[in-house]
């Protein structure tokens, strides 16, 4: 049986005058890892921001576990269990690593303890006093994921976690992601790196010009790979 967690229907969104999302619809089931694939400017990041309520100009339907996100004030969204790892990582330069790590308030019981986090991301250990933005790109990415895991959020939005990272670090992040999946977390992953995406995900959505235009199951992917490549213009 499938257990629907997120249902997005006919979602439109705007930045001021420019209309970015043009009626996108998709859904995510409990415990699934779903990717949003698509070229630059397809609206993937806007989709994440619209889900979180960072972008306020929205129309359509977003239902998370029975809650209407369009009418939820932006600071209440996190309390529904949504954890956001933004594209630019959002590590604060005026906070050290320890402060960055404990910045987001706990939203649900069952979050990871600090020692579990260090087990998952050993690189972060012993860096407490370092200014957040002095970490390497990979470490900043780990910190951005780690601080969300601490809050007990069970639905993670990951926006391009591998962007600009060395292959070794990408492997570390992939490993972490598999651990999270095995813990039963639900994840939406925005990716350009198809190899990374296919290694972690259950299903894939393709976005084009603010719409979801296609869907693939990871099992059937080998047959459809050429189609995906065509979408992404590889």
């Amino acid at each position: 049986m499938t257990d629907l967690r997120l249902d997005v229907e006919d979602l439109h969104s705007w930045y001021g005058e420019s209309h970015i999302l043009h009626g996108a619809s998709f859904h995510v089931n409990r415990g699934e890892v779903v990717t949003l694939l698509g070229r630059n400017g397809a609206g993937k990041t806007t989709m994440m921001r619209a889900l979180m309520g960072v972008v306020r100009q929205r129309k359509g339907k977003i239902i998370l576990d029975g809650n209407d996100l369009l009418s939820t004030p932006p600071h209440r969204v996190a309390k529904l269990g949504l954890g956001y790892v933004p594209e630019e990582r959002g590590i604060f330069s005026s906070l050290n690593v320890a402060e960055n790590l404990v910045l987001p308030p706990v939203v649900k019981p069952g979050g990871m303890s600090i020692s579990d986090i260090y087990k998952l991301f050993p690189n972060l250990k012993g860096r407490d006093g370092t200014i957040g933005t002095r970490l390497s790109g990979g470490e900043q990415q780990m910190l951005a994921i780690a601080r969300i895991l601490r809050t007990g959020a069970d639905f993670i939005l990951l926006d391009e976690p591998t962007e600009g990272l060395a292959p070794v670090i990408v492997d570390d992040i992939a490993h972490a992601l598999k651990t999270l999946k095995s813990m039963g977390l639900t994840i939406i992953l925005v990716e350009q790196n198809t190899r990374f995406a296919t290694g972690c995900a259950d299903r894939h959505y393709v976005m084009e010009q603010g719409r979801i235009v296609d869907e693939f199951s990871n099992d059937m992917l080998d047959a459809d790979m050429s189609k995906i490549d065509a979408y992404l213009g590889v």
């Binding site: 309520g53 960072v54 604060f92 910045l103």
Partner: protein, 295 residues
């Protein structure tokens, strides 16, 4: 009588002490300005008027209902802070989207209106306020005589500054404030009610100005113009120190107070303008200010 550079040491120390008192007020006010600027991107011109309001509330409480200094020390900042909350909710909030200059102009108008209001009701003349009896008298330090109330003002102001600094630099709440200064929408996405935090920050900093006003009441005469003359000097302090650093604004405020005090000893007629001269020199040498990050 011992002398230093031709000035009796007693006089010199007395002026430094007066300078430290002025410096304490500069520090408390510029600290508030810096935090408000960080969170709201607003230069709060009304800060001086709200300081004046704090002093006036203290005076009104005593002269009409007989509420004493110690109660005023709590009540006046609260009233001023609440007033600030209302101002932020009704007005400033709607100006964040437009050019920062408009919020400066709004608070400029607010300062004019408040000063005009108090002048209309209470007249321009200064009102004396008695030093609370627990703090009357002097410390005889041998080398100088220090009125107890002045020592109290310096200690209270410094303690408040230190406390605010600690909260901002060392606590979780402070981390939220710093993070929200950098990236408010991400902090909101983490589940923190940033607009509420902004309102409370403004209320708190404005309450600090009110607190400074209470401290000032027994030292300076309580008058409608006391805020505007102070706020312009504090602006110069803020330009010298830069708005980027809370610790920097405390330090700059205190040291400029002392510089002013020293000028009063050696060249009294320049004492009113010395801070502006320092500002001009700093701007020529270091256009971004001493601790400055360009806004």
């Amino acid at each position: 009588m011992p002398e230093l550079f031709g000035v009796p040491v007693v006089v010199l120390l007395g002026q430094i002490m007066l300078g430290l008192i002025n410096g304490s007020f500069y520090a408390v006010l510029s600290l508030g300005l810096a935090i408000i600027f960080g969170m709201l991107n607003v230069i709060n011109f009304a800060h001086g008027a709200l300081y004046m309001m704090g002093a006036f509330i203290t005076w009104i409480l005593l002269s009409t209902v007989g509420i004493n200094y110690w109660a005023a020390l709590i009540v006046a900042p609260l009233v001023v802070g609440l007033f600030g909350v209302v101002v932020e909710r009704l007005a400033l909030r709607h100006l964040y989207k437009v050019d920062h200059l408009y919020s400066l102009l709004f608070t400029f108008g607010l300062a004019l209106a408040l000063e005009g209001l108090f002048r209309y009701i209470y007249g321009s003349a200064g009102k004396p306020y008695p030093v609370p009896e627990q703090l009357t008298g002097v410390f005889k330090l041998g080398f100088m005589i220090l009125p107890i109330y002045r020592a109290w003002v310096i200690i209270a102001a410094l303690l408040v500054c230190l406390l605010v600094w600690l909260v901002i630099e060392k606590t979780r709440l402070g981390a939220w404030l710093r993070a929200a200064t950098e990236n408010p929408s991400l902090v909101t996405a983490f589940g923190i009610n940033v607009p509420l935090m902004v309102t409370l920050t403004y209320g708190f900093c404005v309450g600090l100005a009110g607190f400074a006003g209470v401290l000032a009441a027994p030292i300076y005469q309580v008058s409608p113009g006391m805020g505007s003359s102070l706020i312009i000097v504090v602006f110069a302090v803020v330009v010298i120190g830069g708005l980027g650093s809370v610790g920097g604004s405390i330090l700059t405020g205190l040291s400029l107070g002392v510089i002013e005090g020293l000028t009063k000893t050696f060249y009294p007629s320049a004492s009113t303008i010395v801070i502006f001269v320092v500002m001009a020199i700093v701007l020529i040498i270091r256009p971004a200010g001493l601790f400055g990050r360009e806004a």
